[in-house]
C-alpha cells in the first residue's frame, strides 16, 4: 500500500518554515512517522513485569458484557463475566476503548490482524502482506527481550486457516496472526504444546533418546551453531548479488531471523555462566506439566478442547514464573473461527455462526455461553498466577494479562467499545477490581502505551495513541 503523499516530514516542515524552533503540532504529521516513536528503555527496580495477551476471535454478546456500574464491582457481574467472579478483585474491566484504524475493510481480518498493531492492514490475496506496523508485544520484545532466554512466545490452539477468503478477497494469513515482528513479518503461533514446552524448558533434545545416536545435537555446543550461522550469513551476502530486489527483500527476512537467533545464542552463552535463580516450586511444576502434555490428546475432532487450552495457558504461566520470557500471546482461535462449542450445555454449533446472532435469542444465549467459557479459561490463568508468591507479592501482581477481542459484537463487527479485561497490578502500578469506563473513543493504543511504560519502555506514541489512561492507577 503506498503511503499517502501528503504526509509532511518534520524536516520538510522545518525547511518550509525556515526556523528551528519547536514545531507546532501539525495534524498531517501525526500518522505513520510516529509509529512506536522514540522508544526509551527505562530500567526498573524489583521483580520483572510480564505482559500476556489472551486473544479470542468473533467478539462477544454485547448485551451481557459491560458492568452497569463504574468503579468497584459491588453488584453482580454481567453473565459473560461471571466465571471470573472469584478473581474479580484482580481484574479490570475496560470499556469504551476502540481501535480506530481498523474501522474499515472487512469484519474480521482487518480487526484481528491489527489487534496489537492498531494499524490498518493492506488488503491483499497474497502479495504485499502488510500489517501496517509492529505489534506492541513485539515492539516490547525487540527492546526488552534480551533479558530472558526468549524475547517472547506466540501460542495458539487452532491450525492456521488457508487460502483466500473469497467472500472478502483477503488472504486468510491475516486471520492466523496477532504478533507481527515487523509490518511484513507475521509470527506463527506454536499450536503444539509439546513443541512449545520443549523450546522453552528443555535443554538440548526432547523425549526419545534414540535420536541422539551419532552426532547428537547436544554435542554441538552453541559455538558450533554460531559458526554455522556466521558462515550462512557470509554465504547469503554473496547470494544477494544474484537476486533482484523483490527476492532480496525476502532474503532479508531470513537474514533478520538468523541474526536474531545468533544474537540470542551469544547472550545465552554469556548467561549460562551466571547462576540463574528459578523458584524451586516452578522447577517442581515443570515435570508435572511435561507429563500432562504427554498424556493429553491433541483434540482435533471438534470435541471439548478445554484441556488443550489449559496446557497452553500453563505453559505461558511457567514461562513467566521461570522468567524464561516476559512477553507472551495466546490465540484462542483464528479470525472467523468456526470451532464447534457444542460441548457447552445450551450451545449448538460453531463460534462464528453464533456470533452472527441476528438478534435471535437462542443464538445470543449460546454466544454468551461461548464467551463465558473463554472468560473461564482466562480466570483460570489469573487465579493460578495469583497463587504464586513472588517477592512481596504474587506473580500476578508483577504481570499484566490482557484478555480481549478485536471487535465487540460479532453481528456488527465494530471495533468500538472493545471487550477488554486487564488482570494484575503491573508491578504495583495498577489498581484492579474495577470497571473503568474510558472516554468514548479512547484509542486502544493508549492502553498499549500504558502497558509499555510499565514493562520498561517509554513510547512517545504508538499508532493512533493520543494520551494516557490515568485511571489505571486508581
Amino acid at each position: 500500500m503506498s503511503r499517502p503523499s501528503w504526509l509532511i516530514s518534520r524536516r520538510a516542515a522545518l525547511r518550509g518554515l525556515g526556523v528551528a524552533l519547536a514545531l507546532p503540532f501539525l495534524d498531517a504529521m501525526v500518522p505513520r512517522p510516529l509509529y512506536g516513536a522514540d522508544p526509551k528503555v527505562i530500567v526498573r527496580k524489583g521483580p520483572p513485569v510480564r505482559f500476556g495477551v489472551l486473544f479470542f476471535p468473533n467478539g462477544v454478546n454485547p448485551h451481557k458484557w459491560t458492568p452497569a456500574e463504574v468503579g468497584p464491582f459491588t453488584t453482580g457481574l454481567p453473565e459473560q463475566l461471571l466465571p471470573m467472579d472469584k478473581v474479580k478483585a484482580d481484574v479490570l474491566v475496560l470499556s469504551q476503548l476502540w481501535n480506530s484504524k481498523c474501522n474499515s475493510g472487512d469484519g474480521h481480518y482487518f480487526k484481528d490482524a491489527s489487534f496489537l498493531t492498531s494499524m490498518t492492514i493492506n488488503k491483499t490475496v497474497g502479495a504485499d502482506i502488510n500489517a501496517g506496523g509492529t505489534s506492541i508485544d513485539q515492539l516490547l520484545a525487540a527492546h526488552l527481550g534480551s533479558s530472558t532466554k526468549l524475547p517472547s512466545i506466540e501460542l495458539g490452539i487452532e491450525s492456521p486457516a488457508k487460502g483466500v477468503d473469497n467472500n472478502v478477497a483477503i488472504t486468510r494469513l491475516y486471520s492466523n496472526h496477532i504478533a507481527w515482528s515487523s509490518a511484513t513479518t507475521p509470527l506463527a503461533c506454536e499450536i503444539d504444546p509439546r513443541q512449545a514446552f520443549d523450546r522453552l524448558f528443555r535443554e538440548g533434545k526432547a523425549d526419545d533418546k534414540d535420536k541422539t545416536k551419532g552426532l547428537a545435537p547436544t554435542a554441538l555446543t552453541p559455538f558450533d551453531d554460531k559458526s554455522v550461522l556466521d558462515a550462512v550469513m557470509a554465504d547469503s551476502q554473496a547470494l544477494k548479488f544474484r537476486l533482484g530486489v523483490a527476492d532480496q527483500r525476502k532474503l532479508d527476512e531470513y537474514l533478520t531471523s538468523v541474526r536474531d537467533v545468533e544474537k540470542r545464542m551469544a547472550l545465552e552463552l554469556k548467561r549460562s555462566k551466571e547462576p540463574r535463580r528459578v523458584d524451586p516450586l516452578a522447577m517442581k511444576a515443570l515435570p508435572v506439566l511435561d507429563e500432562q502434555i504427554r498424556t493429553t490428546g491433541r483434540g482435533q475432532r471438534g470435541e471439548n478442547h478445554t484441556p488443550q487450552v489449559r496446557l497452553m495457558l500453563d505453559i505461558m504461566l511457567l514461562a513467566f514464573w521461570t522468567d524464561t520470557t516476559r512477553i507472551g500471546t495466546f490465540m484462542f482461535g483464528n479470525s472467523v473461527s468456526g470451532r464447534n462449542f457444542s460441548f457447552i450445555d445450551g450451545v449448538k454449533g460453531g463460534h462464528h455462526d453464533h456470533s452472527h446472532h441476528e438478534n435471535n435469542a437462542e443464538k445470543l444465549a449460546g454466544y454468551a455461553k461461548i464467551t463465558a467459557w473463554h472468560v473461564e479459561q482466562y480466570a483460570y490463568l489469573v487465579e493460578r498466577m495469583s497463587q504464586i508468591k513472588e517477592g512481596s507479592g504474587t506473580l500476578l501482581d508483577n504481570s499484566m494479562l490482557l484478555f480481549g477481542s478485536a471487535l465487540r459484537d460479532g453481528n456488527a463487527h465494530s471495533p468500538r467499545d472493545l471487550p477488554l479485561l486487564l488482570a494484575g497490578k503491573g508491578g504495583g502500578t495498577i489498581k484492579p477490581g474495577r470497571h473503568i469506563k474510558c472516554k468514548d473513543g479512547t484509542p486502544l493504543a493508549n492502553l498499549y502505551g500504558e502497558i509499555a511504560i510499565r514493562m520498561g519502555l517509554q513510547l512517545d506514541s504508538f499508532a493512533d495513541s493520543n494520551g494516557q489512561i490515568k485511571e489505571l492507577a486508581g
Binding site: V125, V232, D247
Partner: protein
C-alpha cells in the same frame, strides 16, 4: 493485484445465462455504462475532480478501459465489494445497477486483447520450501524420513488459494532455531555412506581436508539443486577448517559443514537467479528441473532430471512431456493428491480439526472416519492422474474409491478393511466429488446441514467463482416475526429470504445448488427427511429457469457447463503449479490450456503437461537489480 478476473468470468458465465439476467456482452458502454458512471462515479473521479488521482472519465470507450486493465480491475473490485461509491456519496446504485456495472467491467477485462500487454510470467519471489517440501527434500537428499519440519511453525496459510504461495512463506526466528536442532537429528540419523561420499586417503589433515572438500562439492550441488562453483564450496569448507581448529574430529567437522549447507538459504529457498534482461527470460535448465519436481513431487529433482538439466535438454517440449509423464508414474506424484486436493476441496479443514461434526451428536465421526473422508478425494484424484482419466470424472464418475467406513455411509456392501479400492457405483447417488462424505461434511455446520454453505462450495470449488459479500444490514434469515418462521421449513425460510431483492441477487444462484444436495446428511449419508423432520425436496432451478431435481440432474446441468468447470480446475492447478495467484495476464495461458483439454477429451495428463510447458511456468519476470553498493548496505 487482484487475481479474481478469471473467476469473475467463470461466475458470469455460470450465473448469467442470457435469458433472464443481463448479459454483459450485450451492453454497450455508451448507452448502458457511461450514463451509470456519470451518475455514480465521475463527480469525484472525473475531469473536474480526480479524488486520489483517479480520473475514470478519461477512459472514453471500452477499448480504453481494456487497455487500462490494471486500474480497472481495482475499479471492478471496489464496485463489486461495495467499497464504491462510498456511503457519503450523493447517490447509491441499486443492486441491479451495481451488478450491471461490475459485470460489464469484468466482461470488458475478460475480453481484452492480450496483444495490448507485454507477456508477463508473473510475480514470484524466492520460494521457501513448505514444511512438506522440506521433509520430502531431506528424505530424498539424505534418506532420513523423520519429518524434521514438523517441528517448524506451521506455514502461514498462503494466498492465491494454496499454501505454497511464495509471498506468504516466512522464516521467523523460531524456525531458524528449530532448523538448527532438527538438522542435528537428521545428520545423526543419516547413514555414514550417504554423508561421507569421499574417504580421506590417510589420516593427514591435508587428505582429510581434501575429502571434506570433495564431499561438500557433491553435497552442495544436490542440496542447492544446481551446479556450484568452487568459491562457494570453499565458503562451506571454511566451517570445516574452523571446526578442526577447535579440535573437533574430521567426521564431526564434516557434519558441521554439511549442517551449514542445509541452513543456507540456497537449500531452504528455491532460488532462481536474476538476469539483467529487459524482458522476461526463460529460466535455467536446473531451475526448470526444480520447478517440475516441486510441482509434481513436492521434493527435489531426482538423478534423471539433474542429468537432463546438465545436458541442457529440459527446454525441449518433447523432453518436458516425457519427463512429466514419467514423473506422474512415480509414487512421489501422490503429493498432488495430498497437497493440492485438500486445499482445493477444503477437506483440509476436517483433517486439521478446524471443522468437525458435533462429537456428541455424531459419535461415528472418529479419527478413522475423519481420515477416510479426507483420504477419499485424494485417492480419487491420484487415480485420476495415474490412469489419465478425464477431469470431468470429478463432476460425475460411475466408480468410487471406498474403504469399509465409507462404504457404510454410502450403503455399499461387501467392502472390508481400511484399504481403499475401486468399486462401481450402485446408483447415481454417488460419483464425482460433489457427493463425497468429506465434502458434504465440511460444507455443513457442526449440528446441521446447510444448503447455503453447499451452494457456495459448488460455486467456489467447482466453478472457481466467488459470490460477492452480502450487503451490510441485510434483514436476517431468522429475524422475521416469530410467528412466520415456526411453521416454515428451511427451504421456505430461504425462499422468503430471496423475496428480498437485495438477497436474491446472490441467493437465487447459491441456494438451489445446495438444495440439490439436501438428500445428504451432515456426514454424507442418504436421508429422506432433513434434521427438522421435513421431507426432502431436492428440486431447484437455475436463474435462467433451467430445472433440476436431486444430484443426478444437477450433475447433468453441471456437465452442460463443463467448459466453466474445466476453466476453474485449470486455473487452480496453474495457480498451484506457479505458487501464486493468477492475474489478468495469465488469461492467454488458461485459454491455451482449455483448448488443449478440449482436444484431448479433458484428460488430465495432457493438462499437466500443458502447464509444465506453459509460458509462466518456464519464464521468469525480470526484477530490477540493485547495484552491489546498495546490496551491501
Amino acid at each position: 493485484m487482484q487475481p479474481r478476473l478469471l473467476s469473475i468470468i467463470a461466475l458470469m458465465g455460470f450465473w448469467l445465462p442470457a435469458s433472464t439476467a443481463e448479459d454483459p456482452a450485450r451492453l454497450t458502454f455508451d448507452s448502458d455504462i457511461k450514463p451509470l458512471m456519470t451518475a455514480l462515479c465521475y463527480d469525484c473521479h472525473g475531469e473536474k475532480k480526480a479524488k486520489g488521482g483517479i480520473d475514470l472519465q478519461k477512459f472514453a470507450d471500452k477499448r480504453a478501459i481494456q487497455r487500462g486493465a490494471l486500474q480497472w480491475q481495482e475499479v471492478q473490485r471496489a464496485v463489486s465489494e461495495r467499497e464504491m461509491p462510498p456511503d457519503s456519496a450523493k447517490r447509491q446504485p441499486t443492486e441491479a445497477e451495481r451488478e450491471r456495472l461490475s459485470s460489464w467491467i469484468a466482461h470488458a477485462l475478460d475480453t481484452l486483447d492480450p496483444a495490448d500487454f507485454p507477456k508477463d510470467p508473473g510475480h514470484v519471489v524466492l520460494h521457501r520450501l513448505t514444511r512438506v517440501e522440506y521433509n520430502n527434500t531431506i528424505r530424498d537428499l539424505l534418506g532420513v524420513d523423520n519429518k524434521p519440519a514438523d517441528t517448524f511453525p506451521e506455514d502461514a496459510g498462503g494466498g492465491g488459494g494454496f499454501d505454497n504461495n511464495a509471498d506468504t512463506l516466512f522464516v521467523p526466528p523460531v524456525m531458524v532455531e528449530k532448523m538448527l536442532t532438527s538438522l542435528g537429528d537428521v545428520l545423526g540419523l543419516a547413514k555414514p555412506e550417504t554423508l561421507f561420499t569421499h574417504k580421506p586417503v590417510d589420516d593427514k589433515p591435508k587428505s582429510q581436508r581434501a575429502a571434506a572438500k570433495a564431499i561438500l562439492s557433491d553435497f552442495t550441488q544436490k542440496a542447492f539443486r544446481r551446479p556450484v562453483k568452487d568459491p562457494e564450496v570453499e565458503r562451506f569448507a571454511k566451517v570445516y577448517d574452523a571446526a578442526v581448529k577447535k579440535t573437533i574430529n574430521h567426521e564431526d567437522a564434516v557434519k558441521l559443514s554439511l549442517k551449514t549447507v542445509l541452513v543456507s538459504p540456497s537449500f531452504l529457498y528455491r532460488i532462481e537467479g536474476q538476469r539483467p534482461d529487459a524482458k522476461p527470460y526463460e529460466i535455467s535448465q536446473h531451475e526448470m528441473a526444480v520447478r517440475l519436481s516441486y510441482f509434481l513431487w513436492a521434493t527435489m529433482p531426482d538423478a534423471e532430471l539433474f542429468k537432463l538439466a546438465d545436458e541442457g535438454k529440459l527446454h525441449e517440449p518433447a523432453v518436458i512431456e516425457a519427463q512429466v509423464t514419467r514423473m506422474l508414474k512415480d509414487p512421489k506424484a501422490k503429493s498432488l493428491g495430498s497437497i493440492f486436493v485438500p486445499q482445493w476441496l477444503k477437506t483440509e479443514e476436517l483433517r486439521r480439526g478446524r471443522k468437525a461434526p458435533d462429537s456428541g451428536k455424531y459419535p461415528a465421526y472418529n479419527d478413522r472416519m475423519r481420515d477416510a473422508m479426507c483420504d477419499e478425494p485424494e485417492v480419487f484424484f491420484n487415480e485420476l492422474v495415474a490412469k489419465n482419466r478425464s477431469i470431468l470424472d470429478l463432476i460425475d464418475s460411475d466408480y468410487l474409491y471406498v474403504n469399509e467406513d465409507l462404504a457404510k455411509i454410502y450403503d455399499i456392501s461387501g467392502v472390508r478393511g481400511n484399504e481403499f479400492r475401486e468399486v462401481k457405483r450402485p446408483d447415481d447417488k454417488r460419483g464425482g466429488v460433489l457427493t463425497m462424505a468429506g465434502v458434504l461434511t465440511v460444507t455443513s455446520h457442526p449440528h446441521r446441514t446447510s444448503p447455503v454453505l453447499r451452494g457456495v462450495w459448488v460455486l467456489e470449488q467447482i466453478f472457481n467463482s466467488h459470490p460477492p459479500p452480502p450487503p451490510p444490514n441485510v434483514p436476517a434469515l431468522d429475524d422475521k416475526k416469530e410467528g412466520d418462521k415456526k411453521d416454515l421449513t428451511l427451504r421456505q425460510r430461504l425462499e422468503k429470504h430471496r423475496e428480498d431483492p437485495t438477497c436474491a441477487t446472490c441467493h437465487a444462484r447459491i441456494d438451489p445448488l445446495g438444495f440439490a444436495l439436501q438428500h445428504y446428511d451432515l456426514m454424507g449419508g442418504w436421508r429422506a427427511r432433513d434434521e427438522f423432520g421435513s421431507p426432502i425436496d431436492a428440486n431447484g432451478a437455475l436463474i435462467n429457469g433451467e430445472k433440476f431435481s436431486g444430484v443426478g440432474e444437477l450433475r447433468k446441468v453441471l456437465m452442460t457447463r463443463k467448459a466453466e468447470f474445466a476453466r476453474g480446475v485449470t486455473s487452480r492447478l496453474l495457480s498451484f503449479a506457479l505458487g501464486r495467484g493468477l492475474e489478468f495476464y495469465d488469461r492467454p495461458t488458461v485459454n491455451e490450456l482449455m483448448k488443449g483439454l478440449d482436444q484431448n477429451g479433458y484428460k488430465i495428463q495432457p493438462l499437466i503437461v500443458g502447464i509444465a510447458k506453459s509460458f509462466p511456468f518456464r519464464y521468469k519476470r525480470n526484477q530490477p537489480v540493485s547495484s552491489p553498493q546498495e546490496v551491501s548496505q
